[in-house]
Symmetry: C2
Subunit: 540 residues, 2 copies
């Protein structure tokens, strides 16, 4: 049975290679975290045998999907985006009910998600990710002739993707991992997020319909609902799966990493996990309107109830009067702030536990605290304070609290900042607030941060991740499992590719990207130098 | 105390950050495998505390080494090459004694090794590996302005390198892993190979001298001799180490992979391990002079006593008269072949054990066998035969035998080849012998091979790996631990780099590759399109 975006009633079942599949392994339900009310419909959960149908179909789809020409491939990604837009209002409403996130935030996220799919369509059309390198034969070379060597990148194979609760669109069913894996030519088996099952189904249908409309093998995409962690472990263990994309907690991410490493054939895991995103305020940053600056901090801290990977969880503020005045302004700004519904009761509970644990540490005090929200699962936002020696001595102060909690560290000298940065774990971001006069003071911090983070920003809060060609949303462990890449932006496609070389292969047997005639008009590296493709008009 | 290439008497000690260090953890000696005689001098082995001096020095060297300008960086690599050439004749002689490999082979390997260093010098000068991507600010963009975003790649940090016994130059102390890690800007701690300790010391001095001559931090390179596997495990566990390069056995490689994955901060391991390099003969391949073709096969099989990663360990030969005639020719060619000294008594023993184990399998018979060599550790080369069903049923037939042993599989149809290829483990290479008339028959095999191997070649034997821009010496597990890359060729530099993004960072704080003025004249990707650097003359 084929599913369709026109049928908007939710089925409560998995979609395996285009077919609706009633799971035989129990049920789950979404809940409205604002009220803790259970939502219709119930969702059936697949067994491991049913999961194996999805991975087998993905493996079957590899041959045709990986050989797709760029235009058809790009149109597929654009069709997904268009299909999502068709059900946009319904999607936003359902996602808001399931996650407690406000509608305007979700509208923005949906636009980012469809924009991301279209960005990857443009990447596929442009073709540089195919990484073509050519060394023509040199029959006269001494002492040995050089063979004709041609290299291009091929997709790794089926990819397992796990979405995040905090971005039900942009880091979930059709989010960055799915978009970049599909753009690379890898079929995707998506493990539905049980905290937003209806949202997942609507997006899953949009993708499934696009697969059918574009005439692709149905195994290109499956969406499976399963019980807790067990189905995820089974998915990562499946021999057909060749890479994993994950966004979520450090505990779940490291568990999948261990499973992937223990397979008979280990596979790469791209897990984006844990970050407290240090922010460094230099003296000049505190020279303006303290209340305006404090409000901007509180807005970044409390937006989406603090449930953002790049939430500013750690703030270095200079000792002295200007810093004191800033903290007094933070107190004023946060006093008026009310907790907002968190994604799930479990997340709200973990957040409160993290806040309590941090409050119990020696040398840590509350600097400012907001009010609990009126809904369920809406803990009060809080800002703590401590000194550098306390931060250096106690690793609890480096633990991520997922939610609207931040820790201010008062520092006395730029050397202290360098010491603290060098002792930090890996992070997604580090932010500097400074002006030209601080450049010399800040300069020694830069090389230290480059080794610790994926993105360094000046005079801006870390929340808000631009989706483009130069973004890095990554960083050393535990920010991610693999610092060599990014989960946002066009470079993310590289995660799902590997190089293959062709030596003296007859042109008739070569794949299009490395054929002599360059039928896909690709930029190609010839003898180590990029040769830009001739434009259409230049073709013979 | 500083060491020098002018002092050619071997010291028998490690070199840690430019200093000769007498190890306190026992001794080892090289042996001449042709006679099993022990060689002078004895080599002292470092303790874990001494090892930690090397990794600490490497960490200290990161800041200055990673910031080196391209010209100074390239000159350093060229200086290593020049220093190696100064001691070339002595090196070749010592390596031949320690490994049993013939002098002409080692002369070629030495030239390849210095050529490889100079190739990476050209890569460093050219600069594309820095992966610069720029998205200029778009303050007018709606709904949100775009910040200025700049991305470049930075070195991962100190790299642990383990060399291979079978390439005492090209995959050892100053081999491809060391050259590409140093080119990336990563200090290297090299675990000396105890099967060629004197060779290692001579090369280690050449590198150490280059570090001093170029005025670099001495921690950029250390060479440590240690006991068996324990020092290697300690090296991979060391928190200062951020990546591992390894060439060797599947057992040792997977052991290092497990250690790296179990670290508090897991790190990437690039292990090149195990491959039987299937060769597929199509009908037309057997139409020429059977004896000439068989001699070429035997030459590829027995060269370097079969101790090559790309040794043709598996050969698919069509059933029928032409295939029979080819095997008869193989028998004639191999009958005259004599075993050559293998690298170590242990390797010769393992080879003989592998040969005995394969000979004991049901459905496997000896097709041809040479003679034992006159020296020690020189087992007779051997070619086995079996049918496709036996190959599919018994995984022992897929196990690598490191040495001059090969297995011929007789096949009846091209479909059988596809089935067999699909069931294979990952491989470094696959070779096709065919002519134009076989193109249609071979076509279905290509996509299967692309998923299994790093390099596909036509009408050539897999031994002989060209070091250049388009080479892939890699492939899916167990050929390597990480199919996303290569250990030979310029792409290998990517293994030791990761991206960092800079958002709205003042130009004065930006590193050179992403500064507005492009002082290093790099090609840069701007808004997703490559912009070729202006040549020197075009600069304002």
């Amino acid at each position: 049975m084929s599913v369709s975006t026109q049928t908007t009633a939710l089925s409560g079942h998995s979609i395996i290679a285009g077919r609706q599949v009633v799971g035989t392994n129990g049920i789950t339900r979404g809940i409205d975290p604002a009220t803790n009310a259970e939502l219709e419909p119930e969702y059936s959960l697949v067994s491991e045998d049913q999961l194996a149908e999805a991975t087998a179909a993905a493996e079957e789809a590899v041959a045709s999907f990986s050989a797709l020409d760029p235009e058809a491939h790009a149109v597929f990604l654009e069709t997904i985006a268009a299909n999502i837009e068709v059900v946009g209002p319904e999607l936003v409403e359902r996602a808001s009910t399931e996650t407690g996130l406000p509608v305007p935030r979700l509208q923005g996220e949906l636009a980012r998600t469809t924009g991301q799919l279209r960005l990857f369509a443009s990447v596929v059309r442009q073709g540089d990710h195919r990484g073509v390198r050519i060394e023509p034969a040199l029959p006269e070379r001494a002492p040995l002739p050089r063979p004709d060597l041609r290299q291009r990148k091929v997709p790794l194979g089926p990819v397992a993707v796990f979405g995040a609760s905090n971005f039900p669109f942009a880091f979930s069913t059709a989010g960055g991992d799915t978009a970049s894996a599909l753009a690379a030519g890898c079929p995707v088996v998506f493990k539905a997020h049980n905290a937003h099952p209806g949202t997942g189904e609507l997006v899953g249908r949009a993708i499934t319909d696009a697969v059918a409309e574009c005439g692709l093998h149905p195994g290109v995409f499956s969406l499976v609902y399963g019980p807790g962690a067990s189905i995820g472990q089974a998915l990562v263990k499946d021999p057909a799966i060749k890479a994993v994309g994950f966004t979520g907690s450090r505990g779940a991410g490291t568990s999948l990493m261990a499973t992937a490493a223990a397979r008979p054939e280990p596979i790469p895991v791209y897990a984006e996990m844990s970050s407290i995103n240090p922010v460094f305020l230099f003296d000049s940053a505190l020279r303006g309107d303290a209340d305006e600056f404090a409000r901007a901090y509180v807005t970044s801290l409390t937006g989406s109830s603090g449930q953002l990977c790049t939430n500013p969880g750690l703030l270095f503020v200079p000792a002295g009067a200007a810093g004191d005045a800033f903290l007094a302004a933070v107190d004023r700004a946060l006093a008026g702030a009310e907790g907002a519904t968190m994604l799930t009761p479990g997340i709200a509970r973990s957040c409160q536990e993290g806040i309590d644990a941090l409050a119990a540490q020696d040398g840590v005090e509350v600097v400012a605290r907001g009010r609990e929200g009126a809904t369920a699962n809406a803990p009060a936002p809080v800002v703590f304070g401590a000194q550098v020696p306390t931060f250096l001595a106690n690793p609890v102060l480096q633990e991520e609290i997922f939610g609207a909690s931040s820790l201010v560290i008062r520092y006395g000298s730029a050397e202290e900042l360098v010491t603290a940065a060098a002792r930090m774990e890996g992070q997604l971001t580090a932010s500097l607030f400074l002006s030209e006069e601080d450049v010399d003071t800040a300069a020694p911090l830069l090389p230290v941060l480059e080794r610790k983070v994926g993105r360094i920003l000046a005079n801006g809060w870390p929340t808000g991740v631009d989706v483009g060609d130069a973004m890095v949303h990554g960083g050393p462990f535990p920010a991610t499992s693999d610092a060599r890449t990014t989960s946002v932006g066009t470079l993310a496609i590289e995660r799902f590719l590997r190089p293959v070389a062709y030596q003296n292969i007859p042109d008739a047997l070569l794949p299009a990207p490395v054929q002599a005639a360059n039928p896909w008009h690709l930029n190609r590296r010839v003898d180590g130098r990029i040769q830009l493709a001739a434009t259409e008009g230049d073709q013979a």
